[in-house]
């Protein structure tokens, strides 16, 4: 009786959801973040529902199985615009974004009230590598040192410190492709000393990111500049939303998201900029990650302009020139400069959108477009995540993640937002996966 009461009570709380992002899955995060019944969590240990959002490529399926098995019992899974694996029992697939919050709440409630059984583990409960321990403490080497007891080296002082001479044990590990603070799909092998990044090797590049359709149209034909600039501002606001969550400013991050959702030519950035400035976002939070000129050029877009390069294809468009456009730039090239740059560009985009809407100005140059990710002329902006390998060593963990958040490195997808990646099966609304 008491247990039943407890479960019913547990079903009334917010639903803790751990999102695993597949291709084009990140839009789901922004939709769910504003839902009062859903709590997006950063660790699978803190979740009741595992949400697989978007198609997960074959090379990320093994990590997905490992994340799946990290959720504590009882838990359940829900697949959004992605086909559940056939061997999973009673797994729901949802395709309509508006139905998703309700489906998550129902799944959690049914789980708590015992009307839905918990998902089962997919992998055997054993170490991923065989035990190779030797010696008194099973450490595998001589005395207290050395060895690879589970296929991983012991944390040992094998590399010189690169900062202040305080040499700590090196710890090598792999993170991603579903770590919330990385661009979706990215994985890296990292060596830390304390919380200082010693080495960083990007192993899986992030998924190509889709852009708003208007940027694809702008390459084909003249489009209203107001539309292009609002889409650009929205893209930047989405990036800022993730960074503010990472910085621990949850309420401002949601405010940013609300601004992005309701963005129009009458929107202003003043309130948000003031809030960020007053709360010390530009002074107190993690920073670093200075881009050199070559690195800045390699990434392009706002990151390059934050490092002082004034390259912007909009300057070559007669429509933009008529609106008095000239690129805005910063000089420092670090994380904080990139946030200032982003805010300046959002402001500028809103201003241009207002003018363009009033005067009905369209783009005039086709064949190339300045996307929020960088210039797209002959080739789409390509993945630049390998840049992290040279940029992040020497930074503290917080600075490294802030740098990752401030750089839009994923290459551009060949299809706009909302287009299903090729090869995805037909949507089955509210359907279930097959039994084992």
């Amino acid at each position: 009786m008491a247990v039943s009461w407890l479960h019913k009570f547990a079903a009334r709380g917010r639903v803790p959801v751990f999102p695993v992002l597949g291709k084009q899955g990140d839009g789901v995060l922004r939709h769910l973040a504003l839902s009062p019944r859903i709590e997006l969590v950063d660790s699978p240990r803190h979740a009741s529902v595992l949400l697989v959002a978007g198609e997960v490529p074959a090379d990320r399926c093994e990590p997905l199985r490992r994340v799946h098995d990290q959720l504590p019992y009882p838990f359940t899974t829900l697949w959004f615009r992605s086909e559940p694996w056939p061997h999973l029992e009673r797994v729901a697939r949802i395709d309509d974004l508006d139905d998703l919050p309700g489906a998550l709440v129902t799944a959690h409630r049914e789980l708590m009230e015992g009307r839905r059984g918990s998902a089962h583990r997919l992998l055997p409960d054993e170490p991923p590598n065989p035990w190779e321990g030797e010696g008194d403490f099973g450490q595998g080497g001589e005395g207290m040192m050395g060895g690879v007891p589970y296929g991983r080296p012991m944390a040992m002082n094998m590399e010189d410190d690169i900062r202040d001479g305080l040499t700590l044990d090196s710890l090598t590990f792999r993170l991603g492709p579903f770590f919330f603070a990385f661009p979706p799909g990215m994985a890296a092998e990292i060596t830390l000393q304390g919380d200082l990044v010693q080495t960083w090797k990007t192993q899986l590049a992030p998924y190509p990111q889709p852009l708003d359709e208007v940027f694809f149209d702008a390459r084909q034909r003249p489009v209203p500049i107001a539309e292009v600039e609002l889409a650009r501002a929205r893209h930047h606001l989405h990036q800022l939303f993730h960074a503010l969550h990472l910085a621990g400013l949850e309420n401002v991050s949601l405010r940013t998201l609300r601004l992005a959702h309701g963005l129009s030519t009458s929107s202003t950035l003043d309130g948000l900029r003031r809030a960020l400035s007053r709360r010390g976002f530009f002074r107190l939070t993690a920073g670093g990650g200075v881009l050199g000129p070559e690195q800045a050029r390699m990434i392009g877009g706002p990151a390059a302009r934050a490092a002082g390069l004034d390259d912007d294809l909009r300057a070559e468009d007669a429509g933009y020139r008529r609106l008095g456009f000239s690129p805005v730039c910063q000089t420092a090239g670090d994380t904080h400069a990139r946030w200032r740059q982003l805010l300046d560009e959002i402001d500028q985009s809103l201003h241009l959108a207002r003018l363009a809407e009033r005067d009905r100005v369209h783009t005039e140059r086709t064949g190339s477009v300045e996307t929020p990710r960088g210039p797209w002329s002959a080739r789409r902006p390509a993945d630049a995540s390998a840049l992290f390998d040279e940029l992040l060593p020497g930074l503290e963990w917080g600075d490294a993640l802030a740098t990752v958040a401030s750089l839009d490195v994923a290459g551009l997808a060949d299809q706009p937002v909302g287009t299903r990646p090729s090869g995805e099966s037909r949507a089955v609304r509210g359907g279930t996966g097959n039994d084992v």
Binding site: A10, G13, S43, L246, G248, L254, R279, T285, D399
Partner: protein
């Protein structure tokens, strides 16, 4: 027998439960006021969350130090209980009126560093370990500041007993007598309870840090312990700087409860308003700015005591 043994224990347990619940509700109220969506009733939400954590299994990691991992949340809760035990509710209503209660609080702060590191380290997991490392780096910084500030309030009382510290504020509260003391101590509080801008141990960039790998009942105990430590800290701050139970018209326990609520509200508001400080900036701030300020506070308090 009842008043010496059971009453103090009951008082502390009551404060752990009521205080923990108050923190959960207040934090949701603050979040709601700042635009973070809250589902259902704010009063019931903490209990629904507690019920969910009770139904969730405590998970395992690969080869954790089981004893330390399971003990750490309980030890942190015990430290919070120790802190609450020395907070005086009136001249006579104190769970344990030690003559060295200020020193006992100092030891709670120091041992918290050990317990939080233990929590991060024993999970045998990467992000939890980094959280533990960070807390040790921060802990060393804030403990010194806390020590100087608390010696400052002990000087006019000529005692290390919190009841005497309150009695010494009969004419003038320490918040006015030593103007640097309370602001410095509030920063110490955010650091010690790793809350808001100084939450480097269980931070979002570590997916929950030392708590990133825990679930179910251990997580519930850890969350309760963190809330209880905030309450204990608020009690000590109200006692040391805001005159404890002193105040007109209302009974002493009500006065200190109100003062504790005020301190709690300030801490929770700061926690929601400010971003997390970068660890290096945080340590620099502590050693270069706040520690010298705490020296000045101590000298100020010493001169005040001599005059």
């Amino acid at each position: 027998m009842f008043s010496e043994l059971f009453l103090p224990v009951l008082m502390v347990i009551f404060m752990l439960v009521v205080g923990g619940y108050a923190v959960a509700v207040l934090d949701r109220l603050v979040a709601s006021a700042l635009g973070v969506p809250q589902a259902g009733g704010i009063w019931l939400a903490p209990m629904a969350r507690g019920a969910w954590l009770l139904t969730q299994h405590a998970n395992a990691t690969e080869a954790p130090d089981w004893r330390a991992w399971r003990l750490a949340p309980a030890l942190y809760l015990a430290l919070a209980a120790g802190g609450l035990a020395v907070v005086p509710w009136s001249a006579s209503l104190v769970a344990t009126d030690l003559v060295t209660s200020v020193v006992l609080w100092g030891s709670v702060e120091a041992l918290a560093t050990v317990v939080i590191f233990l929590h991060g380290w024993s999970a045998n997991s990467l992000l939890a370990l980094i959280g533990g490392y960070r807390y040790v780096a921060l802990g060393l910084s804030y403990i010194l500041i806390s020590m100087f500030v608390l010696i400052g309030v002990a000087l006019p009382a000529e005692s290390l007993q919190f009841t005497q510290v309150v009695a010494s504020q009969e004419g003038l509260w320490n918040v006015i007598r030593q103007p640097l003391g309370l602001p410095l101590f509030l920063i110490v509080g955010l650091g010690m309870t790793f809350w808001g801008p100084l939450n480097l141990a269980d931070s979002t960039d570590l997916a929950g840090g030392t708590a990133s790998e825990i679930s179910g009942p251990p997580r519930l105990v850890w969350d309760m312990a963190r809330a209880a430590m905030l309450v204990a800290f608020s009690g000590v701050a109200a006692t040391a700087f805001l005159g404890g139970w002193l105040g007109p018209w209302l009974p002493g326990p009500l006065w200190i409860s109100l003062k504790m609520l005020a301190v709690l509200s300030v801490l929770l508001l700061l926690g929601r308003l400010l971003p997390r400080l970068a660890p290096e900036r945080c340590v620099t701030l502590m050693w270069v700015v706040l520690l010298p300020l705490s020296f000045i506070d101590l000298v100020w308090a010493g001169i005040g005591a001599l005059l």
